[in-house]
């Protein structure tokens, strides 16, 4: 009886103590979480993946009425602009046909020259289209959640594009959802090259709308408007994908304006390199092209 009372007193004392210092304990917990975040990335990765797989479907459901309303608005807006848009698309179609014929001729020429030089091609890429479900961005982080489907081959590190250029890379994959780290996020680093002068550098996000261009040589020849594309260094991103253009050049600060409008993304493409077996299967397809070139 006495022991039970002592135990009860001890428990109530502990409870009172916890209540008294709850705020301090929770502050300490917040700092511990930050430290764990900095060191133990496996634990954080797993927990964040679980959170993404829970949050993704919930937002996907919450979004339905708003998406419906937006679709109806877009439909009527599109109807009113259909005539003008049709005329413009016809013009664009004529122009693209000419470019397509030119590109085909160049492709054949390229295949021929590559064969003469015995050039080994980089692995072919495969695209997966994904719908944006949530924008998790705020002043301190820039990321998105996309629905990629259950059987997609999306993996961490793959490059994400829209029709204008690079958007970012896959940060986490959780079930049918993937978290995309935008190229403006402070944790984003993308190896790039200046298209005109072939100078290599790194597009580094810093949570502003215009990422920095870092690791450039001091004598780098740069001009406002220079196109920046992925360099393909490190083998994560395919080379030649448009990232943005140089918009500011200071002594210590070179900034890029991304081509992709990161604030209004609806659908994105996720690029993955094909595996060797798949590439060899497709090689038979390229044989046809070679035969055409031989002719």
């Amino acid at each position: 009886m006495k022991r039970r009372r002592v135990l009860f007193i001890q428990l109530s004392q502990i409870r009172q103590l916890v209540k008294k210092f709850a705020l301090v304990i929770l502050f300490l917990l917040a700092f511990v979480m930050m430290m764990v975040n900095k060191t133990d990335t496996v634990l954080i990765d797993k927990t964040s993946s679980v959170a993404t797989s829970v949050v993704g479907p919930v937002i996907d459901v919450l979004i339905i009425p708003a998406r419906l309303a937006a679709d109806v608005y877009d439909y009527f807006k599109g109807m009113s602009l259909a005539y003008e848009e049709n005329k413009q698309l016809k013009r664009e179609n004529r122009r693209l046909r000419l470019i397509s014929e030119h590109a085909r001729a160049l492709e054949i020429e390229n295949a021929l020259l590559s064969r003469i030089l015995n050039f080994s091609k980089p692995p072919a890429e495969k695209m997966t289209t994904a719908r944006i479900v949530a924008e998790e961005g705020d002043a301190f982080s820039h990321s998105l959640i996309a629905y990629v489907g259950k059987n997609s081959q999306v993996e961490k590190g793959q490059v994400v594009l829209n029709e204008k250029g690079v958007v970012g890379r896959i940060d986490k994959v959780a079930g049918a959802y993937a978290k995309i780290l935008l190229l403006t996020d402070i944790n984003s680093r993308i190896p790039v090259i200046v298209e005109r002068s072939r100078i290599r550098g790194m597009a580094a996000g810093d949570n502003t709308r215009k990422p920095k261009l870092v690791f450039l040589p001091l004598t780098a020849e740069l001009a406002i408007g220079d196109r920046i594309v992925t360099s393909g260094v490190a083998g994560v991103f395919p080379p030649g994908l448009p990232v943005g253009e140089v918009c500011k050049i200071d002594k210590r600060d070179v900034r890029i304006r991304p081509y992709a409008e990161l604030d209004s993304l609806e659908y994105v493409k996720i690029v993955s390199f094909e595996r060797e077996e798949e590439a060899s299967e497709d090689a038979s397809g390229s044989e046809i092209l070679r035969e055409t070139a031989d002719e």
């Binding site: 709850a22 929770l26 700092f31 930050m34 924008e135 705020d138 002043a139 604030d263």
Partner: protein
Amino acid sequence: MLPDRKFYGKRPMNDDFRETLTLYMQRLLPLLSSLILLLLAYMPFFPMAFHPEVSLICVYYWMLHRPDVFNLFSVFVIGLAADLISSSPWGGNVFELLVLYVLVGYLLKYVNGKPFEIMWAGFVLSCLVVQLAKWFVLSFYYSQFLPLGMMIFSFLVTAAVYPLVSLINVFVQNKLMTDEA
């Protein structure tokens, strides 16, 4: 005459259970509505820079209006949820909301029961302080000063949408909660 045994034995228990459940649900409403608003704020319909920190508004509102059902634990849960949803480092949002919790504790006597404008002004002040605190801690975390411009813009957007989010919270408080909760 005694009522039917079946009726006598079960009906009051069911009513009690239902009442207790309703009471608990009502007590959980501030936390649940805050979590739903937090999720809604991440919908991809507005430019990323325009995403307000809804968690700050909810914590401030419920701490002022129903501190009896919105305690430190609720603040921690909302912070943790915000950390899990966003891609900012874990603990950042928890820290931010805990700072707000402390601040509101001090502000309570100056803004509680005052006109809406005073409450709004109190929020603007608290929001600025907690966002600066978060900016400082995250700058320390990343070992570089984060851009202040984005933080200030986020602060302005959050301060501007305070009346709208408060209106939703007023609806939850007046229409879905009873005084007993």
